[in-house]
């Protein structure tokens, strides 16, 4: 249904009806802003990047070949933009060492410890080299679907699988190092 609506909107825009583009923006604003947010962790920058992605899509609508779904083309275009933007101006994140574990987790209900742990993992993702970080971000955004991740990154599925595996391995190593450091600091 959405695919047919997208196709019809694109035809209208290409025939000169700019207002038809609004339907596309309304339909895809959530996913595009959320994807941008995963790349930059900043709400206003995410909206700016998503706006630029829509603008680029508008400029190059005539280059969409109908072989792939419009959404696939749009995500690939947005991913390309977000990756280059975040390589140019990296996302502002905290260092892994800035995230403190509670001094005595037994006194808390566990939710703070869990939140800190989750924050630690997300920050660790941002310390990975871009090619692993981008693969991980897209993989979880696309509901852990390797094929969609590969299409967005314009890479073969095998390459994406290899990057995911290597990225996870690096992530585990970073996290275990941090957890050992925290353990040692508690014992001291």
């Amino acid at each position: 249904m959405a695919a047919a609506e997208d196709q019809s909107a694109v035809e209208k825009v290409l025939s000169g009806d700019t207002s038809a583009f609004e339907g596309i923006v309304r339909r895809w604003q959530g996913p595009l802003v959320n994807l941008a947010f995963r790349f930059c962790r900043d709400r206003s920058r995410a909206e700016e990047m998503a706006q630029e992605a829509f603008l680029r899509a508008y400029r190059s609508l005539d280059r969409w070949r109908r072989e792939a779904a419009f959404s696939t083309w749009l995500f690939a275009l947005a991913t390309n933009l977000y990756c280059s933007e975040c390589r140019r101006i990296p996302a502002r994140t905290f260092s892994l060492h800035d995230i403190a574990e509670p001094t005595d987790p037994r006194t808390l209900d566990g939710s703070l410890a869990r939140k800190n742990r989750e924050r630690l993992v997300r920050c660790a993702v941002f310390t990975l080299p871009p090619k692993y970080r981008e693969a991980l971000i897209l993989f979880y955004f696309h509901d852990m679907d390797v094929a969609s991740t590969a299409r967005s990154l314009a890479l073969p599925e095998g390459t994406v699988k290899a990057r995911l595996s290597r990225g996870r391995e690096m992530l585990r190593r970073k996290l275990s190092q941090r957890l050992v450091a925290l353990q040692l600091s508690k014992e001291a």
């Binding site: 583009f21 609004e22 923006v25 604003q29 947010f37």
Partner: protein
């Protein structure tokens, strides 16, 4: 940390809602884009004769230079011992007055750097 834990944490990501003005802002940008005049294309039709003439001239100069060199070496054969490369470069350097060009370039770069340095400092102070 196990893969399951990583998957669970990274999959469960905070969802954000675009601001209410987002669609309007994108559509404004799209309308501005439509209103903007199209970029001026490079005038290939006008430039082609010029480019063609430049190419012909370059080839003619190379051919003439080669012919002149062959004629010169036929009438006045090259000395057995050629002057050193350094001497040839130095002679060329002096004949072009390259020292003055180098001084002028260094002075220009220094003045640009100095003015940019002052301008940046002023902006930081301001």
């Amino acid at each position: 940390m196990r893969d399951d834990d990583l998957d669970r944490i990274l999959y469960k990501e905070q969802k954000i809602m675009p601001s209410s003005a987002f669609v309007a802002s994108v559509m404004d940008a799209v309308r501005r884009e439509k209103m903007a005049p199209p970029p001026i294309p490079f005038p290939w039709k006008r430039a082609l004769p010029g480019l063609f003439a430049a190419g012909i001239t370059l080839v003619s100069v190379l051919v003439a230079g080669r012919t002149l060199f062959i004629q010169e070496t036929a009438t006045h054969p090259l000395p057995v011992q050629l002057p050193s490369t350094f001497a040839v470069i130095l002679a060329g350097w002096n004949s072009l007055g390259a020292s003055w060009i180098a001084v002028a370039l260094v002075t220009s770069v220094a003045s640009v750097k100095l003015s940019m340095h002052f301008a940046t400092r002023k902006r930081l102070i301001g």
